[in-house]
Amino acid sequence: MVNNITNFSRSGLSDWVLQRVSAVILAVYSVFMVGYLLLHPNLDYTTWSGLFENTAMRVFSLMAFIAIAAHAWIGLWTVATDYMKPTALRLGFQIFVILALFIFLVWGVQVLWGA
């Protein structure tokens, strides 16, 4: 078994499982959000912010944001290791992705619980 690569969990199998679990979470979240917006064509601020004041919705959203971070990291790691041959370029890209996803997560928590 190849163990010496800087992937998410040092094991391809748990990456594989995580990628699919996060995919299912994101699929459900996407269907919910698109469905909600389609069912509320004349959405106003009160209804919209009311939805996100609901604790269940905040937890659901946070779960989706974490799933996005994990899913995007595994996916972009795969893409980077496949197409970026120079180590410096690949490493730089991966550091950028990690930082971007970290900022995204912090920002997402702030959107959900802040303001």
């Binding site: 699919r20 995919a23 601020y45 996005i68 995204f104 702030q110």
Partner: protein
């Protein structure tokens, strides 16, 4: 002299590489052993290629005909990268729309009137649609559904058709 395994491969494999027997070629011992040190440095894959250099490798993408499942697989990756980039727009819109009634109106106004915003929204919804459908296909294939050559082609076709419908619907929704 005990032989260590410099290729980090199961021992049978690296011995076969040294003898040039990879891919079922007849054993053809080298008169001079291959430069092991160089092989260690460049790694096993390059070593295999170097040893079998009489076997041509075609990596010219312009001369390779991609079957449809290959194209949908590449598109799955491309839409994934697009969605990563699009995250910043989506979260920015969510942030603004939840910040205040004025922010909500600004986002609604922008999405209703700004052509560039419409293009971005349509592009992201389309990428999400394709990535979603191709992902469902992936999950089905993980469950051993449709992994034969015939059904793999069929499923790639279905992926393209359903995504095309979603792309059009997303366009209708945005405009």
């Amino acid at each position: 002299m005990p032989m260590t395994n410099p290729y980090n491969l199961p021992s049978r494999d690296w011995r076969d590489i040294r003898l040039g027997t990879v891919d079922g070629l007849r054993p053809r011992p080298f008169l001079k052993p291959p430069p092991l040190r160089a092989c260690v440095r460049v790694g096993p894959r390059e070593c295999v290629r170097a040893v079998n250099s009489k076997r041509p490798v075609n990596l010219d993408l312009t001369t390779i005909k991609f079957p449809l499942p290959a194209l949908t697989s590449i598109a799955h990756r491309i839409t994934g990268v697009i969605l990563f980039v699009g995250l910043v727009f989506a979260l920015w819109a969510l942030d603004a729309s939840l910040s205040s009634p004025q922010g909500f109106e600004a986002v609604r106004e922008t999405l209703a009137t700004n052509f560039l915003a419409k293009i971005v929204a349509w592009g992201l919804l389309s990428a999400l649609g394709f990535h979603f459908v191709a992902g469902i296909k992936h999950l089905l294939m993980d469950m051993d559904i449709g992994v034969e050559l015939e059904s793999a082609n069929r499923k790639a076709q279905v992926t393209v058709v359903i995504s095309a419908v979603l792309v059009v619907l997303a366009g209708v929704w945005v405009w």
